[in-house]
């Protein structure tokens, strides 16, 4: 099995066609100088798989339709009655030229054209025309090639991650190789074709074997045939075969991406407009609709720059540039253990970006960066899983789960744990003799600690992985009407926080697995189990209002405005002590926003008519950091009027709103009325965006109520704010008014996103 057999098969067909051609000539009135027969496509390259069609082209110099029909019928009849699949076209050279101008399939076929019979001059004419047209008009063809590649990938999926891939049409398959070869022939960009050799040989051999096994020309490699194909090709088992196939497809895909990248580079060089570079963060810029790390930026002292760039790319729905990934890999410096908070946040923001994360993650993975940051990942890369439920390899399944989990981040109090749990939920797969849930939990706890999560969060992640199949399994196998079932679930899960995380993970995992594993029917059973278990639990307790330190109380007693800035790496720690007034939070957030300070977390508390505010903000790399005294002055002025600030902020919000974004779930605003304290608790969960806290604070002030305290946190790209609200007299709101406020806030926040 191999190239030689394909060549011999092709030669045998050549001989047979020669006989048929000559035979047809004797029974027709056609002069052999007026017609030629050529092989196109794969057969044109002289390679035929056992079940492949014969792709033929008849070129003639203006013969009558009647003569042609008689000739072709005489020649092909024996093949048809033999059941051979023959795909043929009949054209004059002029017709070929016209058709190939607008049809990418035709021109690609002609590029591989090979003369078989008849007047060779006719064939040569077309060959020369095709080559020259391809080279001269490559600009017109490129968009067509691109769209055909994309359409195919959409329709047939990615070979590397499918459990039942199409060897020819799937992304990274044989047709992509043909396309790359054709692009090389245009000489538009340089392509290292030798990178394809191994992959092409394997893909073609597997395809031949598949045709032998099935005795048909089908190219989809189904689970049921993988054992036989693997055995014939002397692989240890089907998994070993599929792993090799994945590797090959990834190699093809990588060359394809690199090729497009170079093509785009070259197209940009030709255009006169110089693309703008926009610096987004330290070592991260936007350049030609890609996120990249500037070539002059030294990545060695900044190991977090890779994840930072990845998070920016994914959150903006852009790609991470291949050069950047290549450079990161070449000059790799590992992150310290545990990871800095910012890198962990970047990872969460990357995973939480939904669909757009996959491309970015892929680039990092292809350059081996994911496995270097997270060595546990290496074991599940391309790992096939052989069961009827799954469609994807383990690594891709986990990515898909994370994408789906990103849509559920509003349903949980800890979106970061949901996302990280989703990305690693099957990390324990592929270890002989170990239960993947249990072993996965053993792997995730130390991994989470390394990523910089605290012990409690690491244990929660461990429990998520251990129990990620618990809810569906109980819901379908046990009587959820039985209080004992609910009691059991409650005792295993323990907390309402873990319950909502497990619910989110079950949904994302199920949906990512496929329709057979997750139906509405199953979803409703699981939802019912969760509802009943939650009812049996105490519910989630919101955090109490922040406590003040002695030092802070002492400052409050001085009764004057104080502003203090402490630099902490990429963050500023700002303490503001300020006399309370309605709209205070709105005024202070306005000052922070115009100074381009992005609030990552905050705690504020009002005591004795003074507010104590602790802000952790990240700063925009494009502007100098505001000094302490200037910030002091600005806060002082803002307390009198925020009018001019508001104008500037609205400008800023508008500018940012024009940026291409990714789809995010709508905000969730909940008033918690069940818990009676001295203030009404309002929870806001939504995608972070510029001036978010200012928008929230202004909306609440406009509602005519007072913010007594706030706990603000940003988890990746998700904002989670808890606000403590009273009426102007200092009493909690009535449940009706609290719900009204929550609804109004949700409308305001949802409308502007």
């Amino acid at each position: 099995m191999g190239t030689r057999e394909r060549r011999e098969r092709s030669d045998a067909n050549d001989a047979m066609l020669a006989q048929l051609f000559q035979g047809a000539l004797t029974v027709s009135s056609i002069n052999p100088a007026q017609i030629s027969l050529a092989a196109v496509g794969g057969y044109g390259r002289g390679e035929l798989s056992p079940g492949s069609d014969l792709d033929l082209l008849f070129t003639h110099s203006g013969l009558s339709e009647k003569d042609l029909a008689a000739f072709i019928k005489a020649m092909l009849n024996p093949l048809w009655s033999d059941g051979r699949q023959v795909d043929y076209s009949v054209r004059t050279p002029a017709e070929s030229k016209a058709v190939s101008r607008g049809d990418i399939k035709v021109i690609l076929g002609l590029l591989d054209m090979r003369h078989l019979q008849g007047n060779e001059a006719l064939t040569s004419k077309i060959q020369a025309m095709a080559r020259s047209q391809w080279r001269r008009k490559i600009h017109n063809y490129l968009p067509m090639v691109r769209s055909s590649v994309d359409v195919r990938a959409d329709q047939f999926g990615e070979l590397a991650f499918l459990l039942e891939p199409d060897l020819k049409e799937s992304r990274g398959g044989l047709r992509d190789i043909t396309t790359i070869r054709a692009l090389a022939k245009s000489e538009f960009v340089e392509i290292e074709l030798e990178r394809l050799a191994t992959a092409e040989a394997l893909l073609a051999n597997v395809r031949d074997e598949l045709h032998h096994v099935t005795k048909r020309g089908r190219d989809q490699l189904l689970l049921t045939e993988q054992d036989a194909v693997a055995a014939h090709m002397e692989f240890a088992d089907a998994d070993a075969l599929m792993l090799e196939l994945s590797r090959s497809a990834r190699a093809v895909d990588y060359v394809m991406q690199l090729t497009w990248h170079r093509i785009e580079e070259r197209l940009h060089r030709i255009s006169l407009k110089r693309p703008r570079r926009t610096l987004l963060a330290k070592g991260v810029e936007r350049y030609r609709n890609e996120i990249s790390i500037p070539a002059e930026y030294d990545t060695t002292p900044d190991p977090g720059v890779g994840l930072r760039a990845a998070a920016f790319a994914a959150q903006r729905g852009m790609r991470l540039s291949l050069e950047s990934a290549l450079r990161l890999s070449k000059y790799f410096t590992d992150l310290p253990t545990p990871w800095p908070a910012q890198s962990r946040d970047d990872l969460v923001a990357l995973i939480g970006a939904g669909e757009s994360m996959i491309d970015v993650f892929e680039v990092l993975d292809q350059e081996g960066l994911i496995s270097r940051w997270i060595p546990e990942w290496e074991h599940v890369r391309f790992l096939p899983q052989r069961n009827v439920l799954h469609h994807h390899t383990v690594d891709r399944h986990m990515l898909e789960t994370a994408v789906l989990a990103a849509a559920l981040t509003r349903e949980v109090h800890r979106p970061d744990l949901l996302l990280v749990g989703a990305l690693f939920h099957d990390i324990g797969k592929g270890y002989e003799g170990r239960d993947h849930s249990e072993y996965g939990a053993e792997l995730i706890v130390p991994l989470a600690l390394r990523l910089g999560f605290n012990e409690e969060d690491a244990q929660t992640l461990g429990a998520m992985i251990t129990h990620h199949l618990l809810l569906p399994s109980i819901a379908t196998r046990r009587d959820i009407d039985d209080p004992q079932t609910i009691e059991y679930t409650k005792s295993v899960v323990g907390s309402a926080e873990l319950l909502e995380l497990l619910h989110g993970l079950s949904i994302a995992d199920g949906e990512a697995t496929g329709r057979t594993a997750w139906t509405e029917w199953k979803a409703s059973l699981v939802a019912e189990l969760v509802a009943r278990t939650r009812a049996a639990m105490k519910g989630i307790t919101p955090p109490p209002q922040p406590e003040l330190t002695q030092a802070q109380l002492a400052k409050v007693n001085r009764k004057e405005l104080s502003v203090e800035i402490v630099h902490r790496g990429e963050f500023l720690d700002i303490e503001i002590i300020v006399p309370d007034s309605p709209g205070l939070l709105s005024a202070v957030t306005a000052v922070l926003t115009v100074n381009r300070m992005d609030v990552r977390s905050a705690k504020t508390r009002t005591v004795h008519d003074f507010a104590v505010m602790n802000w952790i903000v990240s700063i925009d790399v494009n502007v100098p950091v505001t000094s302490q005294s200037r910030l002091h002055d600005m806060v002082e002025r803002a307390l009198e009027s925020t009018e001019d600030l508001t104008l500037r902020i609205n400008d800023r919000i508008r500018t940012y709103a024009r940026r291409p974004g990714i789809p995010v779930p709508p905000p969730v605003v909940t008033a918690i009325n069940q818990i009676v304290t001295d203030a009404t608790i309002l929870e806001v969960r939504m995608h972070d965006r510029p001036a978010l806290l200012h928008t929230i604070a202004t909306a609440i002030s406009d509602f005519g109520v007072d913010i007594r305290g706030a706990i603000v946190s940003t988890l990746g790209a998700e904002a989670f704010d808890t606000l403590y609200i009273t009426d102007l007299a200092g009493a909690p709101l009535s449940p009706e008014r609290a719900d009204e406020l929550a609804q109004e806030l949700a409308t305001i926040l949802g409308g502007k996103d």
Binding site: A475, T476, R477, R478, D479, I480, D481, D482, P483, I486, T519, E520, W521, K522, S524, L525, E528, R532
Partner: protein
């Protein structure tokens, strides 16, 4: 011949399947179903706990048997599917005129 259809609680599927296997029935069609019976819209008290019941997920199980066995098969299903609580489901049987095994073309009892 009779077509016996049973609507049962999802978690009872294994029990019912095993009981039918023990009786000698090896083939059956199982599908996911949603529905409600008399209990719709009521708040039910079950073992001391209160629950509101809406459209409920169930399992629909179908099996074709010789008319002579129908009564016994129904008994087997009912016994295996019972928890004694509301929402245990229903079993019914209807006559079947024709049955053909697609692969062999066998008809009637041979095709069961």
């Amino acid at each position: 011949m009779k077509l016996i259809t049973a609507i049962i609680k999802p978690f009872k599927l294994d029990d019912v399947k095993n009981a039918l296997n023990a009786f000698g029935i090896t083939g059956m069609t199982v599908s996911e179903a949603m529905g409600f019976g008399r209990t719709r819209g009521h708040t039910e008290v079950y073992r001391g706990a209160e629950y509101t019941i809406d459209l409920i997920p169930k399992i629909r199980l179908e099996v074709v048997v010789d008319s002579a066995d129908a009564e016994k098969v129904i008994d087997v299903i009912v016994k295996a599917a019972s928890t004694g609580a509301i929402g245990d489901g229903k079993v019914w049987a209807v006559p079947v005129d024709h049955i053909v095994r697609v692969r062999t073309g066998e008809r009637g009892l041979d095709a069961i």
